[in-house]
């Protein structure tokens, strides 16, 4: 008969214990999947943000926290743009108002509900060649603020059933949607992009911006030009792509270290559960192992049997844990991004990628098998003589 079937029967014989250990491993795996998947997505969003303006210099007010390419708060006078333009070797300087909306009227979300970006045309600086939906009908907003035109991200459009021609109310302003950004980028899909002056009016940033995107002329390095801007305009700091990465690197490293620590702890829990359960099983089945020993079963067979049993516990626990963890991750992502579950669900494999699933199952099975090694060694030492003598 097949070893796996024999092991499954052995596990089923002690079904309550097996069930409890599977539940334990499932909970550990579920926590791991939910934490890792959501944090990894968070990291992906942060990393993705630096793809914007990657060759440009970002100028912000001094003392402002910059997460990758975008400032969190802070403001500089719009007139600073003209000063920046006068700095030698500056090719273009485009002002942006970047507003993170964390919810209204007392409700606070861990991540912004939406991101409003105001800019004076030059849309391609931000969105590159991202097309607008509906194809052929969607158009970029007019810079004439009277028409109050905006384009919205894909996720916002889905969530509020918006399309070209729809209206959107932000801070009591009725805005006309002229198109939907056809991009699944985490930032752009939650973005409302509008003319700079309109954004200033809506959010009360009169004659203010919070970042200026500077393109250097050929023949000057970003570092050199950034230094020049900071020397000539002391109220701002100018950050190159590398500097922005350096700012966020410790945070990213901390998050990755935490994930590693959580992973290690949860696998340690898994190993402890498996070893404990396996030791209990072996202690109860000393007679069976001694009988196998007397029959002449090779030690490798006994080791394989115990390790297969622990591996099966790990496999079942991790599969159930992944299912529960994935559902958990969907709800967490839905909560922190304020996107309805039905919209998050199609992105399931983005939140919990197949490689991650395979990795977790493989690691769980590996850890469980390893945890079964010591008990299996003990099982091979069960001698029929001493066991029978102890029973008499």
């Amino acid at each position: 008969m097949r070893l796996t079937v024999m092991c499954l029967r052995n596990l089923f014989r002690r079904r309550l214990r097996t069930l409890l250990s599977i539940i334990g491993i499932s909970l550990a795996t579920m926590t791991l999947v939910a934490v890792s998947a959501t944090t990894t997505r968070y990291l992906a969003v942060i990393k993705e943000m630096n793809l914007f303006f990657s060759d440009d210099i970002v100028v912000v007010a001094r003392g402002v926290l910059v997460v990758q390419a975008f400032p969190i708060g802070g403001a500089i006078l719009e007139s600073t743009v003209d000063k920046v333009k006068t700095v030698e070797r500056v090719k273009t300087a485009i002002p942006l108002l970047f507003i993170l909306d964390f919810g209204v009227e007392g409700t606070l979300h861990p991540v912004p509900l939406r991101v409003t970006i105001g800019m004076p045309g030059n849309w391609s600086v931000l969105v590159g060649s991202t097309p607008l939906l509906p194809q052929g009908e969607g158009k970029w907003p007019s810079t004439d603020i009277v028409s109050r035109e905006v384009v919205v991200g894909y996720s916002i459009a889905k969530e509020h059933s918006l399309s070209a021609g729809s209206q959107l109310i932000v801070k009591n302003y009725v805005l006309n949607v002229t198109g939907v950004l056809d991009s699944r980028s985490a930032l752009l899909s939650r973005a409302i992009i509008m003319p700079l002056q309109l954004a200033q009016n809506v959010y009360g940033y009169n004659m203010m911006v919070n970042m200026i995107v500077v393109k250097p002329q050929e023949g000057v390095t970003g570092e050199e030009l950034a230094g020049r801007i900071e020397t000539e305009i002391t109220s701002v700091k100018a950050l190159t792509s590398e500097e922005r990465n350096e700012i966020i690197a410790p945070l990213l490293q901390d998050i990755e270290n935490w994930i590693l620590a959580i992973t290690g702890t949860l696998f340690f829990v898994t190993a402890t559960i498996v070893t404990t359960v396996s030791m209990m099983n072996i202690s109860e089945r000393r007679r069976d192992f001694a009988t196998l020993d007397a029959l002449g079963a090779p030690k490798s067979f006994i080791i394989r049997m115990v390790v297969t049993e622990t591996g099966l516990i790990g496999l079942l626990g991790s599969v159930i844990g992944i299912i529960m963890g994935t559902i958990g991750a969907v709800f967490i992502v839905s909560y922190y991004s304020s996107i309805s579950v039905s919209l998050v669900f199609p992105d399931l494999l983005t939140i919990v990628p197949p490689f991650f699933i395979v990795e977790i199952i493989a690691l769980s099975v590996l850890v469980s098998c390893a945890a079964g090694l010591i008990p299996s060694m003990l099982a091979t030492r069960a001698k029929i003589v001493s066991i029978l003598r102890a029973e008499y």
Binding site: R9, D288, L295
Partner: protein, 222 residues
């Protein structure tokens, strides 16, 4: 000569005291004989059986199996001999509880890498021989004591061993069933030309044996 022992001794250390379970035993057992080792409880017959069955190591003395000095064998080789040349029957049957009668008998063959088809054919044949042809798919808990011991006999014969060791095979059975089991063992021994060595305190078994060793306090007395 299938089994021969030379001054075979086994001493157990229990704390400060030493218990001589088997004391300088010399045996010579021919092939295809039905041998009983008879003695009272605690006389050392089970220990002797495990020593010649290569389940235990002697403190001194030697066991020869088919002329081979087993003290020179490695653990792996001893296991191989147990698997291919020996069968064991225990007082408490020691069937694996999660396996059916069929699977319990197939197990030694599976361990010896016998082809699956042969395993099945031989198992059915053996279980029919012990009159359990209608109980193939039953688990041990669904069998009576006598049936369990018959499965154990079939399992012991699975790899066509040269010798079967039976430790108090009737100890858990009522008198009638016990007698049937012994008759069955004796018949199989004669039909298949297998050596059977039984450790027992049942005098009826001694009467049916070709050769009887009587053991007392670890020594062969007759």
């Amino acid at each position: 000569m299938i089994v021969k022992t030379l001054e075979l001794t086994r001493v157990y250390r229990l704390g400060a005291s030493h218990i001589v379970a088997v004391n300088k035993v010399n045996l010579e057992i021919e092939e295809a004989t039905f041998v009983s080792i008879v003695g009272p409880s605690g006389s050392g017959k089970t220990t002797l059986l495990h020593l010649i069955g290569l389940n235990d190591y002697p403190t001194s003395g030697k066991v020869f199996f088919k002329g081979m000095d087993t003290s020179l064998l490695k653990e792996k080789e001893r296991r191989k001999i147990r698997l291919q040349n020996m069968g064991f029957i225990f007082q408490t049957f020691n069937l694996l509880p999660t396996l059916t009668a069929l699977e319990n008998v197939e197990l030694p063959m599976a361990l010896a890498n016998v082809p699956q088809k042969t395993q099945r054919e031989r198992t059915v044949q053996l279980l029919k021989a012990v009159e359990l042809g209608n109980r193939l798919q039953h688990r041990p808990r669904e069998l009576s004591m006598g049936e369990m011991q018959r499965v154990a006999i079939a399992r012991a014969m699975a790899n066509n061993p040269s010798v079967i060791f039976a430790d108090e095979p009737t100890g858990e059975l009522d008198s009638k069933t016990g007698f049937e089991i012994i008759k069955m063992l004796a018949n199989l021994c004669r039909e298949r030309k297998t050596t059977v060595i039984v450790a027992t305190h049942d005098e009826r078994i001694a009467e049916m044996s070709d050769l009887t060793y009587r053991i007392c306090d670890g020594s062969i007395v007759s």
